[in-house]
Assembly symmetry: C2
Homo-oligomer: 559 residues x 2
């Protein structure tokens, strides 16, 4: 047994799980291992069968999560040479809402031969979008009956969330719904597998299952109004006991100790969500600094001392990110995805050749060319709605727009305009928060993009007028989970009393800082004014052409 | 001397001149030869010097035109084996307004050593756009003083036309203006070189120099209001005697006979413009059928029996296309150019490879993929303003717009949306003409695009709801010129009495016809309604974002 203590964070992502072994004292990342899910995202056929899935379905295999425990955790122990005795705690974060039906003992229905061939018995991944009809009905009924909880979620419950998904099971497969003793988030299920106890975390309950500290879940009458068979869903298949973030769910079971190579009884924190757990890992444990997780999409998180109803936010949850504060979340549905689409569909062969000849990837070449342009020089402006608008319009039917093209327009100009458009989208979110009393003085960025695209970071600083720091870790999810593991272990065992204290010791920023360049900001202010006019014209009902085009497309494809 | 008679048409284009030898009896195209201009479009440096041109300048060398006479005409005689005795006439068409300053004997100033190094001494090509300040002032003054002639030109005189170009010479090089005994269209200058006589044609006078049969040129007071030194420009440097289309300018001089290999005295028609001369070559000599010359840009021409003031048309000129009718012209500034821009800047390497592997050019591949889409399926809509809008908005400051993009949008969908956008633009022109009493029952297409893109032709038929015929000739300009040569030769010499009679014998349509498909038309009617809304929102002043973006770009580039 050494004098140094360690914690492990496990980040359950969309395609793989990642374990990170961290020094409790200073947050040093000692070892890291990734284990891909054998069945990945299941969106065509149920594994081992010819059973086809409908469009918009996205499932997962819970066994893939167990395999992460069996492979990635032993791997970090082996790589680091750390004595399992010195690992004092374990935390996990998960995609959400990613949910599954289980028996009373936690056995997933899809593990049972009698249900294995039934799609509804498997895990519904966060990006399973087939519960849209249920989400629509839920929102309509909630609005009609005057439920105020909608306000906490920007006015709309997403089809990605818990109750639409549960309701879809009931609608389409009542026998599966009936057979499910429990309906549970993946985050809570994996903690159950680690500790043997079912303890549900506050973050997923608050952001994905309409729970709040003050009001609990919506009343049974609400669920009855959706479907009489759902009246008692919370009491029958869920739990009203919700555990705060950083709480210890329990100790590792003998079996989980065998899977992981850790000691039985090692402290395990209650589950958390990948985005939210990144906030303290990005050093943020107080109001004023917004954390933006920048990747395929953007997730914006900021803390406040009061519950504010901010239009178009994804949710506000008391204690939902950091205990003691209201955690606000907003999002942009298409950021890195935007650039990936552009590179795949719109970059000419000559650019590919130039990149190849110069040993760059195509994003690097485009960034280099785009960085030579001054703000305003392209004459282009875009609305960043290639995948709809999450915040603040909450409208998946909106589509992308590019304006200002001429015969002299170059690919790097379009590329830059798309980056700028996502920055304007972030500015709309920031200004909406501030307008409703939630301060955003600075930004801390994390996720994949800040490492890869300095131009993008500078544009975000120039457009938003905010200084942007970058979290030191490249694995904010796993580090945040490890930090929660240290809190679950507690101070006596060598961990920390609170996540704020853990953050002080374990989370850091990089030296690089992006500060707004005043001359750029002045030009972007003018362009942002144009963006806002178009944003409202196309996004707030003056001209619903985007929706009509999308509806016409659906009509034609259905013929 | 044979029994068959022939005529030659020479089409002076932007990059080259083309001679076509045609059988007078039936319009058969016997031989064709192209001679490229050695100095092409001069837009960087004056030939043989280091003298740089300003942006927006575009000059030509008149000697290049003479070289076409010396090379292309002998080439068609040689290729065909036709006896020069049997060539009864010659007609020419030219780009316009393409104008130059000359001495009293027709010698271009730029041929003289003392002026050779002066850019203003050279030919100003149609696409010389540096006279925009003069055009703006001219329009402003004409509006202020209440001159009605503006109405005949859609409300605005273009910077490409005769008087702005002449005025630019005076503004920037009064010594050149002073030294110029004559200011003359290339079309008239080349006829002068062929015949030894200066005879100015009605088409360029009417469409490019504000002349009309009933009113002549604007009065001297108007020119005086522009600049007192210009008061007598018409009488001093031009001519008030304007010759109708098809008139014989004269016979070939000895020298021109030597250049061309034709007989001295061969009848030469007065000059004409490339677009306008194509109308009878496309079989149209009466109202009701619109001729669209489809190439890098679209030029729309239709005949009427009355003078109508149609908003946004390029011009209405009595006898300007076919004697006896009012000739209306409209245009779209960016059609083939649109697709060329797209292919160069937006088509991914994978498509280039597929095209190569399958032995297609990239346009063919895109057409094939786009043709598999149904109307409305892409969910996209574009405003075809990549090069501004000529008709009906007459606004060069407008720019392109694409709306409806998603992460599933494919290059062929954008390509098809651009084609559709140009078709909507044509429909706006057609509907505006009809609204103002000029009938457009059918379309006859000519130019480069109809041969190359059947999908485009069908989309135009579906969007406009008009049957589209295609002119049989691939060289409507040269054929039309040859037909005018046959009229200049006259019936007694084996030619024709009128251009209508010439068209009856010498012009033909292809068998292929594009008819509107009712189900497509119904969908395009819905999309066209969306196009019109955006057209008016961005094009008629509700939201001038395009102009502001363009102005900002110019401001940034000027810093």
């Amino acid at each position: 047994m050494g004098t140094r203590k360690y914690v492990i964070g496990i980040d359950f992502g969309t395609e793989s799980g990642r374990a990170l072994l961290v020094d409790v004292a200073n947050g040093s990342e000692i070892a890291e291992a990734v284990h891909p899910y054998a069945n990945g995202v299941i969106d065509e056929k149920l594994p081992g069968t010819d059973i086809r899935l409908e469009p918009d379905w996205a499932l997962q295999d819970p066994n893939d999560y167990i395999e992460v425990l069996k492979n990635a955790v032993p791997a970090v122990l082996k790589e680091s040479g750390v004595d399992p005795e010195d690992v004092i705690g374990l935390g996990i974060d998960f995609t959400a809402c990613t949910m599954l039906p289980t028996k009373a003992d936690g056995t997933p229905l899809c593990f049972l031969p009698e249900w294995r061939n039934h799609p509804h018995a498997w895990v519904k991944l966060w990006k399973h979008h087939a519960a849209q009809p249920e989400a629509n009905k839920l929102n309509e009924i909630a609005r009609e009956l005057g439920y105020k909880f909608l306000d906490r979620y920007g006015g709309k419950i997403s089809s990605e969330w818990f109750f639409p998904k549960a309701w879809q099971i009931l609608d389409e497969a009542p026998e599966v719904y009936e057979a499910a003793d429990r309906l549970i988030e993946g985050a809570d299920w994996i903690v159950w597998q680690l500790t043997g106890v079912e303890k549900r975390n506050l973050c997923t309950a608050g952001y994905k299952a309409i729970w709040s500290k003050r009001e609990g879940f919506p009343p049974n009458e609400f669920f009855k109004a959706l479907d009489p068979r759902m009246e008692h869903i919370v009491d029958e298949k869920m739990s009203r006991t919700i555990y705060p973030l950083g709480a210890k769910a329990g100790g590792l079971t003998e079996q989980a100790a065998q899977w992981t190579g850790l000691k039985p009884g090692t402290a395990v924190a209650v589950g958390n969500v990948d985005a939210h757990v990144s906030v303290p890992a990005a050093t943020v444990t107080e109001p004023g600094r917004m954390v933006i997780i920048m990747g395929t999409s953007n997730c914006h998180m900021v803390l406040g001392t009061e519950e504010k109803m901010v239009p178009g936010m994804c949710g506000v949850v008391e204690d939902g990110i950091i205990p003691g504060y209201f955690g606000f979340e907003a999002g942009q549905s298409c950021v890195g995805d935007h650039f990936a689409w552009f590179v795949e569909n719109c970059v000419p062969a000559a650019y590919e050749e130039e990149a190849k000849a110069r040993g760059l990837n195509i994003h690097q070449l485009l960034e280099e060319k785009a960085a030579r342009l001054k703000p305003g020089e392209s004459g282009l402006l875009a609305l960043d709605w290639w995948n709809g608008n999450r915040s603040v319009l909450v409208d998946a039917e909106l589509t992308g727009l590019l304006i200002g093209a001429t015969l002299a327009t170059k690919p790097e100009e379009i590329y830059r305009a798309l980056i700028e458009a996502t920055a304007y989208g972030t500015r709309v979110i920031i200004e909406t928060f501030e307008e409703y009393g939630v301060a955003v003085e600075e930004i801390v960025a994390t996720g994949g993009l800040p490492n890869r695209n300095k131009l993008l970071m500078q544009i975000y600083a120039d457009v938003t007028g905010r200084t942007i720091h970058v979290a030191a870790t490249n694995q904010a999810g796993a580090l945040g989970s490890a930090m929660h593991g240290a809190v679950a272990a507690g101070k006596e065992a060598g961990g920390y009393e609170s996540i704020a204290e853990a953050a002080k010791h374990m989370a850091r920023l990089r030296d690089e800082v992006y500060r707004p360049i005043p001359e750029h900001k002045a030009i972007y202010d003018r362009l942002y004014a144009e963006y806002l006019t178009l944003h409202d014209y196309f996004g707030r009902g003056t001209n619903d052409v985007m929706k009509r085009l999308k509806a016409l497309r659906a009509e034609i494809l259905a013929r």
